[in-house]
């Protein structure tokens, strides 16, 4: 996108990976690119652990009887699946891995604004992960990832406190990352990198950071109060004293609904990058896509009570929240239309990242539309706490967010590692994930509509066929997720060298070598054009 006013570096051998191999150089690194990789290690680990819990859940649900695990164990399985996947995979995956790696490169900076704080965020994350993992090892936790009182404060005899503290700690990692990114975007942009020349990924990360900074402290204090109530007997949510358990739900969802946007906005940013690159076109309606990110972040704060429609809130407030939940669909739809319009009459290049984008569009569409069902008051009463809800949020959080993460990962992998992966296997995995995902979760919409409640290990026999389909889909999905691990690992050792810009993409990160220099750029670039000037360059295929 930019014309670099400097000669290319004369030191192609030195990069951020090989300039120092010692363990200390990794554990004490202040380099945003290395910190991204440190996050990737733990997020992948958490994804595997969460995946194992999911597998156990799906195996239990192949038969109507609760025969494999007891009801208590089942409660622990879905709780620990949720805790791992929400707080240690979905929240950090795109901002802390891809965002950390790309943000300074994209805006032409040497690093984020506060590199030490960035490293601290990672340590805080690992300490939080350590606490929740310890809680799992010493017996697990069974309240559901939502920690509703009084399950969590009085009824549960599992390791709620340890898990809560782990989430409290990990929350600060998210807050500090958001803070760091906001300051970075405000203060670290290269000369000429105006706000409207920023790649849309940066806009998405900015909107995400806004949510991280404003919402996460609220869950921190809420979980802390729940833990204090459990351990010391404070009574803020205790109905026996006149406390209000629904207040906990309000405070919890004040974070946890916007948290969905922490999960989905950054992948949306990655989608914008990939779709422009592989359609060889200027993104359609740049400013609409940019502002829709901010609109989603802002509206996202005003819809939380749609999780409380059956919790006894006033019908008038429920009507307002229902209306606002419909409203938040508008900016999401704006994005989807703009992406589709970007592909229209584009010279589409069918490579792995683009396959993931198509998967994302399909799954996000279904997830988004079923969200409208849930936002309408009457229908929500019918499907509340059923598999319909489970299917809906998996379409958004796994179908949308993880698919977007994979699109971004396949797009930037050559930049991160300097190596190409096997494109055919990449396409195969995208296909397996798309098919497996739909097979797993589409039957759950039907199950939910027919009335199968979530969070039970046994169910009436008439639901078996759909549950078996779902479990079969989950095995396909598992293969689809494990495949990239194999070909990515292989590519590290045997992959073809990528070169600076294998996709012929615009964007400052593609103007520096792969893997980039420790200091990113030999000279700070000067930017003099917009982010997606694909019309100005001829198609260059690696």
């Amino acid at each position: 996108m930019a014309t670099i006013t400097t000669a290319t570096t004369a030191l192609p051998q030195r990069d951020y990976l090989n300039h120092d191999h010692s363990v200390a150089s990794w554990l004490l690194t202040k380099d945003h690119k290395r910190i991204a990789i440190l996050y990737m290690v733990f997020v992948t680990l958490a994804f595997l652990i969460g995946g194992i819990f999911a597998a156990a859940i799906r195996i239990e649900l192949t038969t109507p009887a609760g025969d494999l695990v007891s009801a208590d164990t089942y409660n622990k399985l879905f709780t620990m699946h949720g805790v791992n996947m929400v707080f240690f995979v979905l929240i950090p995956a795109v901002p802390a891995i891809l965002g950390n790696f790309c943000l300074p490169l994209m805006i032409g900076a040497r690093d984020v604004a506060f590199p030490k704080l960035n490293l601290l965020s990672w340590y805080v994350f690992v300490i939080g992960f350590f606490f929740t993992t310890t809680a799992m090892i010493v017996g697990g936790v069974d309240t559901g990832w939502t920690f509703y009182v009084p399950y969590s404060s009085q009824a549960s005899n599992s390791n709620v406190f340890l898990t809560g503290i782990g989430i409290f700690i990990a929350g600060f990692s998210s807050i500090l990352t958001g803070l760091n990114f906001m300051v970075t975007i405000h203060r670290m942009r290269a000369p000429g990198m105006t706000w409207f020349r920023l790649p849309l990924m940066v806009w998405a990360l900015y909107a995400t950071a806004l949510v991280q900074v404003l919402a996460t402290p609220v869950i921190a204090i809420t979980v802390l109060m729940m833990a204090v109530e459990r351990v010391l007997g404070f009574g803020i949510f205790d109905a026996r004293l006149g406390g209000d358990p629904v207040l906990f739900q309000h405070l919890f969802w004040f974070y946890s609904h916007p948290a969905v946007y922490i999960m989905i906005l950054p992948p949306m940013g990655a989608i914008s990058e990939v779709i422009a690159c592989f359609s060889r076109k200027q993104i359609f309606g740049y400013s609409f896509v940019a502002f829709s990110s901010l609109a989603i972040a802002v509206f996202g704060f005003l819809v939380w009570a749609h999780h409380l429609f059956v919790a006894g809130i006033s019908p008038y407030s429920a009507m307002v929240f229902s209306f606002l939940s419909f409203a938040v669909a508008i900016p999401s739809a704006v994005k989807t239309f703009n992406w589709t319009a970007t592909m229209y009459k584009g010279a589409i290049w069918w490579k792995t990242p683009m396959m993931y984008v198509l998967g994302f569009l399909g799954l996000f569409l279904i997830g988004g539309l079923t969200g409208l069902f849930l936002a309408s008051l009457g229908l929500d009463v019918h499907v509340h706490d059923t598999y319909f809800v489970v299917a809906h949020f998996h379409y958004i959080m796994v179908g949308g967010a993880i698919m977007g993460y994979f699109a971004g990962l396949h797009f930037w992998w050559p930049k991160i590692t300097g190596r190409m992966y096997n494109d055919s296997l990449g396409k195969l995995s995208a296909l397996l994930i798309f098919v497996g995902f739909n097979l797993t979760f589409f039957p759950q919409f039907v199950l939910g509509y027919l009335g199968m409640p979530r969070r039970y290990h046994a169910y009436p026999p008439e639901f078996q066929v759909l549950n078996v389909l779902s479990s079969a889909g989950a095995s396909v999905l598992a293969v689809g997720y494990l495949l990239p691990m194999c070909y990515f690992t292989y590519s590290l050792f045997k992959g073809e060298k990528a070169g600076a810009n294998p996709w012929g993409a615009t964007g400052l990160e593609w103007t520096t070598q792969s893997p980039p220099l420790p200091e990113n750029f030999a000279e700070i670039p000067i930017v003099n054009e917009g982010a997606y000037e694909y019309s100005k360059r001829e198609m260059k295929v690696a």
Binding site: L179, M188, G233, D238, L241, H250
Partner: protein, 233 residues
């Protein structure tokens, strides 16, 4: 070479002349300072949201249980709370003097002096708070299994005291962190690290200290001054 300016060659062999506190990923010292200031303000915003969660609970229960609120509030000592309010306002003033001394390039002992008074006032606050807590323990007003209160509002009174301890406890924790922070800053000032060109850590700790004071300015009326008007007549 002017005071506090150092030159060295980086790994490309470029020779830089810059302030020793200047970090390499910033292009200019001004950019670095603006980034620090924005970061600090954002951090304070997260703090507002952090306390905000508790204040929402406070609002709800105050509307629901006005009698318990006025009863609980009357048990708190306006004298001790008021003294602490004055102590903290004073400490904000001396903190501002410390930052001003750094900004105008005064001698280290001036900065350290003002910081010392600020820390002494902070400590005074914590000591008074300690005696207040001690009294609550003696009266059985600490929420939990050993909570003890009489009267028709005893249960809701426990919610009041839960919020009292959560809010003032978190505030006191912030004071302790601030005390530690100022110790480090005082040590840096003593070593002569600050000058007119660069006193960012001093200024940032000042922002933090003022923020913690302002939190107390809200907590004092919210907790100590509920329904006290009748006592004036």
């Amino acid at each position: 070479m002017p005071n506090g300016v150092a030159a060295h060659a980086d790994e490309h062999g470029h020779v830089h002349v810059h302030h020793p506190a200047h970090q390499h990923h910033f292009q200019t010292m001004q950019q670095q300072q603006e980034a620090s200031a924005l970061g600090m303000w954002l951090f304070l915003v997260t703090e507002i949201m952090f306390f905000g969660g508790l204040l929402v609970a406070y609002m709800l229960y105050r509307v629901w249980y006005p009698e318990a609120w006025s009863e609980g509030s009357e048990e708190l000592s306006i004298v001790l709370g008021g003294t602490n309010t004055l102590v903290l306002i004073g400490s904000s003033l001396t903190m501002a003097f410390a930052v001003r001394a750094g900004q105008t390039g005064r001698a280290p002992k001036v900065i350290v002096g003002w910081l010392g008074i600020t820390m002494a006032l902070g400590l005074t606050f914590l000591v008074i708070k300690f005696f207040e807590y001690k009294e609550k323990f003696a009266l059985g007003h600490v929420p939990g299994r050993n909570f003890h209160a009489e009267g028709p509002h005893a249960a809701q009174l426990q919610i009041f005291y839960s919020l009292y301890f959560a809010l003032t406890g978190l505030h006191a924790l912030h004071m302790i962190i601030g005390f530690g922070l100022l110790s480090v800053i005082a040590w840096m000032a003593w070593k002569g690290r600050f000058s007119e060109e660069w006193y960012t850590p001093l200024e940032m700790s000042g922002l933090y200290w003022h923020f913690v004071d302002i939190v107390w300015i809200f907590l004092f009326p919210l907790l100590y001054l509920v329904d006290r008007a009748h006592q004036l007549s």
